[in-house]
Symmetry: C2
Subunit: 123 residues, 2 copies
DNA sequence: CAGGATCCACTACGATACTG
DNA sequence: CAGTATCGTAGTGGATCCTG
């Protein structure tokens, strides 16, 4: 298996944690859902949908939630009611990444203008 | 333009900084290149290529570097020599995100086992 | 209400070949 | 050395319709 060497911390490129974990965040909605759930703790499907603003398709919200659940970032609880109620709650693992993502969000907000400017200049 | 409300911080979903900025990091190689360049400061094209371990195609490395340059994360300097020499240097903007990405990397390393375990249990 | 099932478009990415 | 150009593919995400 190929290795790369970033200074003194060798990374396995195939099994690289950064790649493996952050690739999940690399999709279109995961980070946003985690941000929302990190702030609200528990939400229902349609509540998350509303928070995002229905720019997201039902399918993708479902897929995103399933993936985050599989990774252990949130817990899905179904109540056997009619109509059905499903609640999504952030887990301890989710809570532990949240501050990092939150900082990234703040960084993004702060530096967005500089990036926009750079992009325009580059054209 | 649609708005969403994450607690007290309203986000413009279309022009959302998180989405706009972090979508760039969502690709396959940007984070890795930023990590490498953040630690080495200045590298040549082929040096970056070697660090990644040639799992990346020349084309994608070029595209990734161009995008990071356009966003202002790194500076590209071409020397009119034969054979040509091109150096990529991390900018102040790049340096300012680096710690965040570095923390994400450390988090990923630390929590990868828990995530793997969760994924297996979910199947 | 919270989804599952389909179909389809786009594009990110890789492989290969060529060049100033 | 550091790319560009071209082609081909797989996967991501959207739109729509259907259901316990």
């Amino acid at each position: 298996m190929s290795k790369i060497n970033i200074l003194d911390s060798p990374l396995d490129i195939k099994n690289c944690p950064v790649r493996n974990v952050l690739d999940r965040f690399g999709d279109k909605w995961s980070l946003l859902v985690l941000l929302i759930l990190g702030k609200k703790e528990t939400l229902r499907f349609n509540e998350i949908n509303k928070e995002i603003g229905s720019d997201i398709s039902q399918k993708m919200l479902t897929v995103t939630l399933r993936t985050l659940e599989a990774d252990g970032f949130l817990k899905r609880t179904m109540y056997a009611e009619i109509p059905p109620r499903v609640e999504y709650t952030i887990t301890d693992l989710g809570k532990s990444v949240f501050p990092l993502i939150d900082k990234l969000e703040k960084w993004a907000k702060l530096n967005m203008p500089a990036i926009e400017k750079s992009r325009k200049k580059f054209k």
